[in-house]
Point group: C2
C-alpha cells in the first residue's frame, strides 16, 4: 500500500464513521453547523486573506497566468460571497428523510420512499478556494461526509477555509471528520481517491477539462461531472425576432467561460438573411468572432468555420454558426455534436417547441430562454456542487437533493407473504 | 478488435438507433408491442416448448443438476406466466415523459423534470429463459433498447421467446433492434458487453453469485445488481409474539432460494428463553437447521454457529441466530454483516421502529413484515428486472420507472440571465 493509498483509506474510514453521526444528527444540527461555519469564516477573514496572499505570491512567483490568478484570488467581497453561500445553504430545506413517495399495497404493507445521504463524497478541484466552502456546505446539508482535495496553488487558502468549516462542525457537536481536506498536494492522493471503491461513493471533479478527463478515465468510483458544455441555440423560422436576438446574445456573451455558454448557433435556412443576419450583426457588434458554415459567407464580418469548429467548446468570444434545414436538421446536429448539457430552441411554434423538448437528449432542454440559466441557483436548488451530463442518478445541476439516494421504508402488522 | 467486440459494437449501434425511435413512438405503441408480444408468445407455445425440450435434453445429457434443470424448464403453466407477465407490464403506466416535478422561478422560467429512457440496457442472465421476456418487456415499457445475453443452456428456449418478442415489436411498427439477443454463447461476448462504454448505459446481471461478482468486478459500464441478500430479522423485546413467530417463519421458509429470504435472526437478550425459544422451535419444526451463537446452546435442537455463519447467504433451510443487546446491538450487527438489501425489525415499540427505520442503511427497511416481500411486484411496480443494492440511481426492486433517467425541460419567454 502506498502512502497516498494509506492516507485516503484512513480518511475514508474516518469519513464513514463521521457520516453515520452526521446523518443521524438531524436537520437542525446540520443547519447549526452551516451557520456556525459562516460565522467562523467571517471571523477568520484576516487569516484567510493572509493565507490567500501567500498563495497568490507563490503563484505569481511561478509565473501563473491572469485567469488562474483571478480564480485563486480572495478579497473581502469574495469572502462575503462565501459566507452568504453558507447561509443560503443553511436556509435550504434539509433533504435527509424527506418522503419522495408513499403508497399502500393490497397486502397491507405501507411503503415510503425516503431520501438518505449517499455516504462519502470526494471532491477534486483546482485553484478556486471557495469550492472548499461550497462543496463542504452542500455535502453537510445532504448528510454526506466529504473528502476535499484542492489544487496545490490554493492549498493555504483552502486550509484556512477548511479550519472554519471544521469550527462550524465542532460548534454544532458534529464530528470533525465529516469535512476533511487532503493534507498533501501530492498528486498520488488524487489517484488513491479515484481508486477508493468501498470508501468513496461518488467523486465530483471541479476544474478544467484535463482534470475531468483524467477523473472520468481513471475513476473506479462513480463520477458526477461534465467534460464539456457544447451548448447550442437553434433559432427556428417561427422565432420571435426580439426574443431570438436577446437570447442568443445573452447565451453567448453574458459569461463566455461558463459551461452553459452557447458555443454554436443553428439558424433555420428560411431566415438566414433576415433575423439570422441581425443576430450575427449583434454578436459581431458585441465583439464575438462569428465562424460561419456554408451559406453564411456573404454576411459581413463572418469568417469561415473549420469543420472542427462544430462540436468545439470555445469558452471565449467565439461562436460557430450553421444553417440547418429546419428542426430536423437542428436535432440531428445536436445529436451529433452536443454533450448532453444544455440545448435551446427559440420559436413561437408550439409544435416545434414540443418536438425539441421531446427529442433532445440533454440534461437541460430550453425553449425561449438563455443557456446561461444552466445553474443550480437559477433552478432553485440554492447552490450546486457541479453540473452532470451522465444519465444515471444525477443530471443537470447537482444540488443537495441530488446528493441523496433513497431507501424504501416498509411497515406492516406482522405481514407475511403467501 | 475481436469478433465479440465487433459483434457487440454492431448490436450496440443498432440498439442506439432503435432506441430513439422507440422513445419517440409513444406509450400507446409500446403498449401495443407488449400485447402483441404476449399474443406471439402464446401463439408460439408449441415452438417454444419444443425448443425448451431440446435445451432440457442437452442439459440432461451434460449431467446438469436438479435446481438448474428446474430453472431451465418451461411448461404450459410457466409459459402462461410469461404471457401474463407481458400483459401486466403492458397494463402498467408508461413512465416516459411523466413529470416528476414542476416549478416556476422568479426569473420567469418554468421548469419541469420529466422521465426519459436511460438508453441501452444490457441484461446478462443464466438458465432462466423467462428473463428474455421479462427483461425485454420492462425495457420496452421504459423506452429503452435492450441487448439480452442468455446462458448457453437456455439458448434455444431464449431464441424462441425472443422471436416472439420481435414479432410484437414488428406488429406495433417498432424497430426490431429494440430487443436483441446476442446470437452466440461465446463467453467473450459477455466481456465485450462489460467493456461497452458509450454503447451500453447500464448492465443488469441476473444469475448466481459468480456471474454477478464477475460483472461487478469487470464492468466498465454501470451495473444494477445485488451480489448477496444477507437479510436479517431482529426480534425486539417489545415484539408481539404472534407477529414475530409468523414473520420469522415466513421470512426464512416461504422460499429459501430467493435473495429476500432471511439468513440471520437477531433476538433481544431479554426474550431469548421466552419468545426466542418459541421462534426457534417453530423453525426447527419446519425443518430449518438453526445455528446459534453464544447464549443459545441450551435450547433444544440448536447447533453451534461457526463465526462465518454470520454474514453468510445460505439460500437453503439454514439460519444463523444471534443474541443481541437490544436495538443498538442489532443495528451494529447489521451494519457489519448486512448487504444493504432488506432488513426487518419486529416490535410494537414505536421508538425502536423509528430508530431502526432511520439508522439501517439498506435499500429496503421493514417493520413487522417479512423480508420475503422484497420484490417489485409486491412493491406495486408490476415487475422488476432485478434488485439493486448500490446507492446510486436505482435501489431495491428495479422496475420500469427505475429504468428511466430524467431531463429538465425549461421554458421562458425570451428570458435572459442578468
Amino acid at each position: 500500500m502506498t502512502d497516498a493509498t494509506a492516507l485516503i483509506e484512513g480518511m475514508g474510514r474516518a469519513a464513514q464513521a463521521a457520516q453515520g453521526a452526521l446523518a443521524q444528527a438531524g436537520a437542525a444540527r446540520r443547519t447549526a453547523a452551516l451557520i456556525a461555519a459562516a460565522e467562523a469564516v467571517a471571523a477568520a477573514e484576516g487569516a484567510i486573506l493572509a493565507a490567500n496572499a501567500e498563495d497568490m505570491a507563490a503563484a505569481e512567483a511561478r509565473g501563473i497566468s491572469g485567469a488562474m490568478l483571478n480564480r485563486l484570488r480572495l478579497d473581502p467581497g469574495r469572502l462575503a460571497g462565501i459566507t452568504a453561500g453558507l447561509r443560503a445553504v443553511a436556509a435550504q430545506p434539509d433533504p435527509v428523510g424527506a418522503t419522495i413517495a408513499a403508497w399502500e399495497m393490497p397486502s397491507g404493507l405501507r411503503i415510503r420512499r425516503v431520501r438518505s445521504p449517499i455516504g462519502v463524497i470526494g471532491v477534486i478541484y483546482e485553484s478556486r478556494p471557495n469550492v472548499t466552502a461550497d462543496a463542504g456546505a452542500l455535502c453537510l446539508r445532504s448528510g454526506n461526509a466529504v473528502i476535499l482535495r484542492g489544487g496545490s496553488e490554493s492549498a493555504r487558502s483552502s486550509a484556512a477555509i477548511h479550519r472554519a468549516m471544521v469550527a462550524g462542525l465542532r460548534a454544532a457537536g458534529l464530528p470533525e471528520a465529516a469535512i476533511q481536506l487532503v493534507p498533501t498536494t501530492d498528486r498520488a492522493a488524487v489517484g488513491a481517491m479515484l481508486a477508493a471503491q468501498g470508501l468513496l461513493d461518488v467523486i465530483v471533479p471541479r476544474g478544467g477539462k484535463s482534470l475531468v478527463a483524467r477523473v472520468q478515465a481513471e475513476a473506479r468510483v462513480p463520477v458526477f461531472a461534465h467534460l464539456e458544455g457544447i451548448c447550442h441555440v437553434y433559432v427556428d423560422a417561427a422565432a420571435d425576432p426580439a426574443k431570438a436576438r436577446r437570447v442568443v446574445l445573452n447565451a453567448k456573451t453574458r459569461r463566455t467561460e461558463v459551461c452553459g455558454a452557447a458555443e454554436c448557433l443553428l439558424i433555420h435556412r428560411a431566415i438566414v438573411d433576415g433575423l439570422g443576419a441581425a443576430i450575427i450583426a449583434d454578436l459581431i457588434a458585441a465583439g464575438v468572432e462569428v465562424r460561419g458554415g456554408a451559406g453564411l459567407a456573404h454576411l459581413p464580418g463572418v469568417v469561415a468555420a473549420a469543420p472542427d469548429d462544430f462540436g468545439r467548446e470555445f469558452l471565449d468570444m467565439t461562436i460557430a454558426v450553421k444553417v440547418v434545414d429546419g428542426i430536423e436538421g437542428a436535432i440531428a446536429h445536436i445529436a451529433r455534436h452536443g454533450t448532453r448539457h444544455t440545448e435551446a430552441i427559440v420559436t413561437e411554434d408550439r409544435e416545434a417547441a414540443e418536438r425539441f423538448l421531446a427529442e433532445i437528449d440533454a440534461g437541460i432542454v430550453m425553449v425561449n430562454a438563455s443557456t446561461q440559466f444552466a445553474d443550480g441557483g437559477e433552478f432553485g436548488m440554492g447552490a450546486e456542487i457541479g453540473i452532470a451530463t451522465g444519465k444515471l442518478h444525477a443530471r443537470g445541476p447537482v444540488g443537495a437533493e441530488q446528493l441523496t439516494t433513497f431507501r424504501y421504508l416498509v411497515e406492516g402488522d406482522g405481514t407475511i407473504r403467501p
